[in-house]
Each structure stands twice: as C-alpha cells, then as structure tokens.
Amino acid sequence: MSKRSNEPIVWSLFGAGGVVVAFSMPVFILITGIAVPLGIVSEDVISYERLAGFAGSWFGKLFLLVIISLPLWQSVHRIFLSLHDFGITGGEIFFRVVLYGAALWGTLLPLFLLVGM
C-alpha cells in the first residue's frame, strides 16, 4: 500500500477549528476574559453550579469539547505552517510531534474529563 498523507485529517480539523473560532470565540473571550473579570457582567453567568450543570448534560459535554479542542487544532496547524516564515526550517518531525501532540492531548484530556463529569 502506498504511503498516505495525513494532511486531509489535519486540514479538516484546522478548517473546523477556524470556523468555530470565527463564529464563537470572540463571545467567549469577551465573557470569560473581560466582562466577568471586570465586573461588567455578574459572575453568576459562569458560576460553578451553572457550568457544572452544563457539563453534566450530553449537549454541554459536546459543546465544551468542540470549543476547546477544535481551536487548538486550528492554532497548532497554523503555527506549524508559519514556522518556515520565521526562519525555522528544520526539525519538521519534532515540531509535528510537539504541536499536533499538544492538540491531541487537548482533545483526549477534555474528553476524559467531560465523560467523568
């Protein structure tokens, strides 16, 4: 069998991640990183009770996995392709393992955590 490229899989995750980032991430950053910490919005909107309840539902588990994992794949793929632009031309296998490994870890760990919640 000829050697197949894993590019389509990685690109699909990158593409899906890019869509998730574009259509949702600004709202999450605004709420969790700016509005709640500055007291513009009550802390109740992301209280332990509310989020633990959300993570307890199957829809909530899937939702949280999608918004954590897919942006990571988008990020590492883009960083990997940009290495060359910053003069890093060697160590391709090393960077593949580190970057895609991080994204895989950032998929399996939330999956494991969410299933147990």
Binding site: A22, M25, V41
Partner: protein, 130 residues
C-alpha cells in the same frame, strides 16, 4: 567535507518589507492567541472537574490585570481571525449555485458576517439570560 560557504540571502524581517506581508503575519499570529485561550479554557475545565473551590480560583486568576490585558488582545486577534477567515472561505470552498447561477464571492462574505452576528447575539443571549 566541503569548505565552500555559499552566500545565502538573509531573510530576517522579510515580512516588514510589504504591508501585505505584515497583514499575512498578523493573520498567522492570531493562531498564538487562539491557542493560548484554548489552553486557558482547558485549564478552566480541569478546575471545573476538580470542584467548586478550584473553579473559583480559576475565576479569581482571570481577574489578574495581565490576564485581562491578554484577553483584550486575544479578542482583537479572534475578531481579526474571523474577518480574514470570512474573506478566504469563499476561495477555498466549492462554488455555491442557486438557480443555476454562481453565488458571487461578496455575497458569501456578507452572508457570513450576518450569520456571525446572529450567532454572537444568540450566544450572548443564552449566556447572559439563558
């Protein structure tokens, strides 16, 4: 071993030489902020799974002025990602046909802005009043 030392044109700072290259590097750099924010969310999930006290520590850490500053920059990066993503999407996806007519690129871009606006409002509504 060869002692030959060929001249290699230095490429440092190549992207500063043309505004288009700067925008390209800016677009690619958004990935760093997206990645860091995803890790912050992941840490939040780890804290959430450890219980209420751990989650409240995460909430307190988010109030650090450095963290707020990071999130303001990350918000700009996410919005810039969205803008560039919407403009590239029609170029990488198969053409859309309606009534045997190809939907023009500008309409697909505008459509994505409208869709994004609706999704942002729905998400905000669900988070704030859901």
């Amino acid at each position: 071993m060869s002692t030959r030392k060929p001249y290699v044109r230095p490429m440092t700072g190549w992207w500063l030489k043309n505004p288009v290259y700067i925008l390209y590097i800016l677009r690619e750099s958004t990935a760093v902020f997206v990645g860091i924010y995803a890790v912050i969310l992941l840490v939040g999930l780890i804290r959430l799974s450890s219980g209420e006290a751990a989650w409240n520590n995460w909430l307190a850490a988010m109030q650090n002025p450095g963290a707020v500053l990071f999130h303001i920059v990350a918000l700009c990066a996410a919005v810039y990602h969205a803008i560039t993503w919407f403009s590239v999407a029609p170029k990488v996806m198969p053409p859309v046909w309606i009534n045997n007519e190809k939907v023009p690129v500008e309409k697909i871009v505008t459509g994505q802005y409208i869709l994004a606006g609706i999704i942002y409002l729905v998400l905000l509504g669900l988070i704030l009043w859901g």
